[in-house]
Symmetry: C2
Subunit: 332 residues, 2 copies
C-alpha cells in the first residue's frame, strides 16, 4: 500500500537532482549518456511512471483530447476508430467520456471537462447546446462531430440526406408510383433530414406517398409500419430511415406474404454488417463513419494548431444497390 515512486525518488536513488531526472524523461536539456543511462535504469527498476496530473498542471499541456459519446449508438465505435487514429498521428492521447441525460446535462458535463484543465481539445459525438462549443480561439476548443439541431455548430456531413432523393428518383424511374417513409426519431437531425428530404422528393417527382410511419429506430418499428399498410398497398416502395427499420420491414413483408422486390421494395441507411446477408439483401447507404470521425478529429487538431480547417475530402456517403430494390438501376 506504499505510494507510487516519484521523480524525487528516482533522483535520490540515482544520486542526481530532480531536474536531471526530468530532463532525461522528457528528452530535454543535455544530459550525459552515463547519467541518462543510470536514471533510466533506476526509473525502470522501481517502476517509476510520471504523475500526469502534476505534469499537466505544470506544463499546462496535457497532450490529451476528449471525445464525448452517447451511450447507445453502435456507429460511434466506427467514428471513434477514425478519430483515434488521427489523434494518435497528431501526437495526442484520446480519451472518451460517455454522457447520459438531457441536452442540458450533457452540455454541463462538456463545460466541466473543458474547464477541468485536463484536455487540450474536446470533440463531441452527441448534441450539446451551442453555448458549449467554440467559435473562436478559445482554450480548449470544443467541436461537435454531429448535427442535431440548428442551435449547434457541426461538421454536418452525417445529417446530409440527399441520397434519399436519389432513391426516390431511381425507384420512380424504375416504375414505382407509390412510396412510404419509415422515419427515425425526429430528435435526431439525421432522421429529420431524411424525412424532410423524402417529403420534398415525392412531392417534386409527383409520386404518391402513403405517408410517414415509424418514429423510432428499432427493427420492430419497421415491421409494424409494414403490417400497418393497407392490403392493396403493393406495389410500394419503402424508404426506411436506417437498416434496422429496413430489416423489420422485410420481415413484415414476409409475414404478409408480400415478396420483395416484387410487391415491395425497401431501402435502408447505414450499411450495417447484416445488410448484405438478409434475404433479399438490402439496398442501403454506406456511411463512412470512420472517415467522419477522422475528419472531425482533423478539424480539432487544426484548431489546436491554429491551422486552417482541412477540406472535407470525398463524400462520406454512397448508395449500395442490392436485391431489395430489384432492378432499380443507379441513375446514370
Amino acid at each position: 500500500m506504499s505510494l507510487p515512486p516519484t521523480s524525487r525518488d528516482v533522483a535520490r536513488i540515482a544520486g542526481v537532482s530532480q531536474t536531471t531526472v526530468s530532463y532525461v524523461l522528457t528528452g530535454k536539456g543535455a544530459i550525459s549518456p552515463t547519467t541518462r543511462e543510470r536514471v533510466l535504469e533506476v526509473a525502470d527498476s522501481i517502476g517509476y511512471r510520471p504523475n500526469l496530473a502534476a505534469r499537466s498542471m505544470r506544463t499546462r499541456r496535457s497532450g490529451r483530447l476528449a471525445v464525448i459519446m452517447g451511450v447507445a449508438f453502435d456507429n460511434q465505435m466506427r467514428m471513434l476508430n477514425g478519430a483515434s487514429q488521427v489523434a494518435d498521428e497528431a501526437g495526442y492521447v484520446m480519451e472518451t467520456h460517455s454522457v447520459e441525460g438531457t441536452v442540458e446535462d450533457r452540455t454541463e458535463r462538456v463545460l466541466e471537462l473543458a474547464a477541468g484543465g485536463q484536455y487540450e481539445g474536446i470533440l463531441t459525438f452527441v448534441p450539446v447546446l451551442g453555448s458549449a462549443l467554440s467559435d473562436g480561439r478559445e482554450t480548449p476548443p470544443v467541436l461537435a462531430a454531429t448535427a442535431f439541431d440548428d442551435k449547434m455548430r457541426s461538421v454536418g456531413e452525417l445529417a446530409d440526406a440527399g441520397l434519399i432523393e436519389v432513391f426516390v428518383r431511381a425507384l420512380a424511374a424504375a416504375g414505382h408510383r407509390r412510396f412510404v417513409h419509415v422515419a427515425g426519431p425526429q430528435g435526431f437531425s439525421s432522421a429529420r433530414a431524411r424525412q424532410e428530404t423524402y417529403i420534398a422528393a415525392v412531392e417534386r417527382l409527383g409520386v404518391e406517398s402513403l405517408g410517414v410511419l415509424g418514429g423510432e429506430w428499432p427493427p420492430e418499428t419497421g415491421r409494424q409500419a409494414v403490417l400497418a399498410l393497407a392490403d392493396d398497398a403493393p406495389p410500394v416502395a419503402v424508404i426506411a430511415a436506417n437498416d434496422d427499420l429496413a430489416i423489420g420491414a422485410l420481415r413484415g413483408a414476409a409475414e404478409r406474404g408480400w415478396s420483395v422486390p416484387e410487391d415491395l421494395v425497401v431501402t435502408g441507411w447505414d450499411n450495417a454488417r447484416f445488410g448484405a446477408y438478409t434475404l433479399p439483401s438490402l439496398t442501403t447507404v454506406d456511411v463512412d463513419f470512420r472517415a467522419a470521425g477522422s475528419h472531425a478529429m482533423r478539424l480539432l487538431v487544426a484548431a489546436l494548431r491554429g491551422e486552417e480547417p482541412p477540406p472535407r475530402g470525398a463524400t462520406l456517403q454512397h448508395i449500395v444497390w442490392r436485391e431489395s430494390t430489384g432492378s432499380a438501376a443507379p441513375p446514370d
Copy 2:
C-alpha cells in the same frame, strides 16, 4: 485567450481567502451563509470551475474510474451502459479509453493509466497481461471484465459457453445427427470456449461432426462455411459462434437452395437486434452485456471500498429459441 479563472481569482474578487473559497466549494469547513453566498456568486459570475488536475494532485483522490475498451466491439457499448450506471450511483465519474495494438501495447497503456495517478480504479474490457491486473489491495485496483486466456484474471461470465452444449443436446434430441461449428477467432476466449464446448458436446453425444469451420467474426465467414459444405451435408445443424456468422450461414443456405430449418438449422450467439427479423428468425443466446458491465463495475467499486466482492447474481445468458432451429424444443 486569457487563462481560465482560478480559486485565487475568486478569492480576490470576493474579498476572502483562497481557503474560504475552497471550503465553500467542497462543502467542508464552517462558512457563514453571507460569505458562502458571495463566493458562490463570484465563482459563477466569472465562470470559475476547479482545475481537476490540481485538486486530484492535492487530495490524491480523483473520484474518477477508467474503463479500457477495444475499438471494434459493438457489445462494449452495452457493457459500458451498465458500468456507467453503477459508477454513477457509487459517486464516481467514469471515463473510457480506447486502446489498440498488441496485448503488450494494451498492457503498457493500462500500466500507464494506473500509475498516472488520475484514476482510483481501472476496469478493462479488453485482454491485457495478468501482470497489469490487481490481485491484492494495490492502488489503483485494475480489474478485467472479460476473459481471454489463462494468464488473466477475469469475472469470466462472458466466456461461459455451456449453452453450446444445450444447443447440441436439444438438436440431437430433435433428431439431428450431423453438426458443424462455425467458430470465431481463437484469440478470443469466448470463441475458443464455444469451440471447445462444441467439440466436447458432439463427442459426448455421439453425433457426427463435419468439423470446425470459420475462424473470423464477419458474416461472410459464415456464408463461406455453408458454401464449403458437401452437397450431401443436409440435414445438418450449424452451430455458429455468433449472430453475424449465423446470418451469413442463413444466406449461404439460401444460395445453395437449402431451406431452413428443413435442410439446415442454425444457432447464433449474442442476440443481436437483427436476429428476430431475419428469415427465418435466429435462435441465439441472449447475453446480458449490460448486466456484465454492471457487475464488473460493482466488483471494482467493492475493491475500492475494501468490501467483499458482490455475488454474481442471476446468469447472464439464456437461449432464445426462434425459427432457425425449427421445432427443437427447449430441454426444460
